[in-house]
């Protein structure tokens, strides 16, 4: 890597900013600001810093509406909002998807709008940690805040997750490296284990790598549970791991003082899906008979956990909540975005702070191409290509303030450091405006009946 000169040319420093990248929500970032732009970021990882600094790259700046020729053309805010409100008010089966990269304050207006028109509100959990949430509903949720790991843990397991690449500061700020109250020597006082079929960068820096077979998670975890419960393993090799290694590993986990397991999509999305997490949660529960263990799902987007928490306290369910009957319904496989789209049910789709164009299966995107799509976002992306109305929002944690929930549920008020581009609007304002405009249309419909 080439050496880069430190940035010295800036007007202002803003400290204690919160990173709007992953579920770590590192809140110790320093922004270097010049001419109203962030020109440098201190303390952030490369993923976070690049998101904050190269913000203007492909930035959506003005509202756009797709014309009859199929081109997105610039328009004014009133026209774009009215058109979007009209579509939402006239829809029978609207879906509002995304929310994981915006603030809880924005979600508050979104849920009001959703209740008003009987929409489905769903977030990225539907394609990422949805199985984890299902498992939580099956088996339980023994978690801790990240500081508990920093201060107490002497054994940390990463399972189906490559934190070094996906959550680059996780090991440095919260788990392996920091010097905690009871772990004064930091890394030297901690055993790091990676359980992953791939020899990832996280595995490379771990003390133990358990490279079980692809899709072998469920069997491997079951074997660990069996050993923990004093059973003899009948096969010599389980999921590609010699039984002696499993026995040694379980012994180490049992005799540690405080253990913490972090799991990612490598565990939630292999063959057994939520059953993998069920068994991992059960393993943690069993381990607590001997010593202290907790687990935390490695959430991806900075506020993906926030949406689940928000929906749960407002309406009792974490994601995929359907208001079409006037009360919230939550049925996995029925009220989730992908299922709805592949059944071609939705007639209007609003995506906010998410990119289905890049991540949804082809069948789902095909239906999106056939129905009106309203996009609220800050960057041009694959979803913009299928959007019919584009409403440029603002960047939470940089241009707008708002609440976010870290992967462990700790709420953080992400403050504003610079002004948004003049032609953009706050997400919160956009969704509130849509709500008000839809309310007006609905009101006049009732009056004319």
């Amino acid at each position: 890597m080439a050496y880069e000169e430190p940035i010295t040319d800036y007007d202002e420093i803003v400290e204690n900013c919160t990173c709007a990248f992953c579920g770590c929500n590192c809140d110790d970032l320093t922004y270097l600001i010049k001419d109203g732009h962030v020109v440098g970021v201190r303390h952030a990882c490369r993923l976070g810093a690049s998101k904050v600094m190269e913000d203007m790259d492909q930035r959506l700046l003005v509202p756009m509406i797709r014309n009859e020729e199929g081109d997105l053309v610039e328009t004014d805010w009133d026209t774009a909002l009215d058109k979007a409100a009209e579509l939402i008010a006239g829809s029978v089966r609207p879906v509002f998807y995304g929310w994981s990269e915006t603030s809880v304050e924005t979600m508050k207006h979104g849920i009001r709008l959703g209740e008003l028109v009987g929409a489905v509100l769903d977030n990225q959990a539907t394609i990422c940690h949805g199985p984890s949430l299902q498992a939580v509903q099956n088996a339980g949720y023994p978690v801790n805040t990240l500081g508990e790991v920093k201060n107490r843990a002497d054994m940390i397991v990463y399972s189906g997750n490559n934190a070094m690449n996906s959550h680059p500061r996780h090991l440095g700020r919260y788990s392996a490296f920091p010097r905690g109250y009871f772990r004064k020597r930091g890394r030297f006082d901690k055993t790091i284990v990676t359980m992953d079929p791939r020899y990832t960068d996280t595995a490379k820096m771990s003390d133990i790598w358990v490279g079980f077979e692809q899709n072998g998670d469920y069997e491997f975890y079951n074997a660990m549970r069996a050993v923990l419960r004093g059973k003899k393993l009948k096969k010599d090799v389980i999921s590609g791991i010699p039984k002696e290694d499993i026995e040694d590993l379980v012994e180490a986990m049992k005799t540690t003082q405080y253990g913490s397991l972090f799991f990612g999509l490598g565990l939630t999305h292999t063959l057994s899906k939520q059953r993998n997490i069920d068994i991992a949660i059960n393993l943690i529960q069993d381990l607590n008979k001997f010593t202290k263990w907790n687990l935390v799902p490695m959430r991806g987007h900075f506020n993906v956990n926030g949406f689940n928490i928000f929906m749960a306290f407002e309406m009792g369910f974490p994601y995929g909540v359907d208001f079409s009957r006037g009360y919230p319904r939550y049925m996995n496989g029925e009220t989730n975005t992908i299922d709805l789209l592949t059944r071609e049910e939705p007639d209007v789709f609003m995506v906010i702070a998410a990119d289905p164009g890049a991540h949804f299966p082809g069948g789902a995107n095909r239906h999106l191409a056939n129905i009106p799509v309203i996009q609220i976002d800050i960057h041009w992306g694959p979803s913009t290509e299928i959007a019919d109305i584009v409403l440029p929002g603002s960047f939470i944690g940089v241009e707008a303030a708002g609440t976010s929930y870290r992967m462990d549920g700790v709420p953080i008020y992400m403050k504003k450091a610079i002004d948004k581009p003049e032609t953009c609007r706050d997400d919160e304002w956009i969704v509130r405006e849509l709500h008000e405009r839809v309310q007006k249309i609905k009101g006049s419909q009732i009056a004319s009946k």
């Binding site: 204690n16 919160t18 939580v136 509903q137 405080y258 001997f290 907790n294 709420p411």
Partner: protein, 569 residues
Amino acid sequence: MEYIIKNGIVYDPTNKVDGEKKDVMFKDGKIVDSVSSDAKVLDATDKVVMAAGVDPHSHIAGPKLVVGRLYRPEDSRKGIKPKTATTRAETGFSIPSCPTTGYRYSRMGYGTVVEAAMPPLEAKHTHEEILAIPNLDIPALSLFGNNWFVLEYAKENNIDDLATFISKWLKITRGYGVKIVNPGGSEAWGWGMNVHGLDDPVPYWDVTSREVIHALAEANEKLGLPHSIHLHPNDLGHPGNYNTTIDTMDLIKDISKNSPVRDQTVHMTHIQYHSYAGTNWRDFESGAEDVAKFINKNDYVTCDVGQITLDETTTMTADAPMEFDLHQLNGLKWANKDIELETAAGIVPFIYSGRNSVHSVQWAIGLEMFLMVDNPWQVMLTTDSPNAGPFIRYPRVISWLMSNKRRTEMIENGEVHKAVGRKSVLATLDREYDFNEIATISRAAPAKAYGFTDRGHLGVGARADVAVYDINPNDIDPSKEYETIEHAFGNANLTVKDGQIIVQNGDIVSTKESQTIWTNVKGIEEKENALMEKIMPVFDKYYTIKFENYVVHDHYVHNPIEVNVQAGK
């Protein structure tokens, strides 16, 4: 706007009004003694009129509530009501959604509910949920009993710094008072352990629960906070724990009260869970008599009951090791949440059944406490919602208290296990609460214990928080008509909050934004600043969040009710 609630039969224990037929008037959100002839008349002829209810201990907002909702969709699928023109959709039974919580309390005629456990690190979350609950004033008690700074100050017996710390942390978290849960035990749970009793040292900290409780009580009185320490003692739910409970109350006896607005120096919460005799679940029996006797002799103690309601519910407490034990006991799904440097929590679904001998005896113990504590100002109505049962069961508990006939019926016809007869003295207690006593345990006494002078009563100048119930006290025999009692207290004829009519004939007719009540201690700001300088290096080193982002900003407390206290006065 002026209103007059006409011809009601008023129970206002604070002002010694016991079933008098009189009018209650209010104007601009306050109770007044006269209104003009333009006043709108609300007819309450021969109906019970009380101040709106004050719940001294409930879990309605915060991180463990939301974990309950996240991991129990089966609970959210109960109690569903579609939205109306006034209300949002309702979901949930033991852990209702935030809007639902507000509506249901309003329907019972409540106006103020104390959220009994707020972890400082996640205080913002608690306040976010409070913002999503309509119609109530909500103080939240900040957790101090297992905080590392507190353990350190308690060990050194450094009451001065401890008081300053409490003062500062109430500001930071917008908390109302000092909550202590299983002191030392939740910290020990950081290592999968617990403390057993008052003199078991906390691992690594070289301090005992006894020292922590005493130091916090002393600091609480040094500041002169409006509420006393709010104590969930050690050994919750363990057979034989009544001794610990009595020892705990006893260790406060040398502390002198430093607040004119309350009578107690310690509030013991969900005392039912702490009044168990026996040595294991087989020989488990009631220890209520001894606990009640102690309270009867010592007026520096108040308690709330945590009455078992024999429902399926979701238990949740910062007593995390106890929740793990519970999970081991019933095998249902276990959630846990350990919070760095501060506290922990556990959540486990639970099915209390009248067919189960232990649950039935627990049910009896709660009622024994209600009936054996002589002074209703010392015992308050709670179910420790949702732990011993959801708060919507308060009307049923009231019907049990007012009807010995109903209690006897439950024991005799097998609605509860026959162990109740052998292991408690409930069957021999024929005391029946009257309306005045019900008003005391559900509004007057909790308001007094919290130092709320503006609510819990109907005196001139109080907030116009009023509940009217459709019962004619001169015409009803609650002992026989317990079903009517339960229905009436569950469906207020009228609920007024700050002069706004919220409920009419059991239906929500309007909503208002909830307000957070918090305690702002004044006069030791310099000491606080000095203390913060000492704290900051430790804070920065061991928390995973920057102090600037730890503080609860004004953003999270819309229109708060700030209770100002001069430190030490």
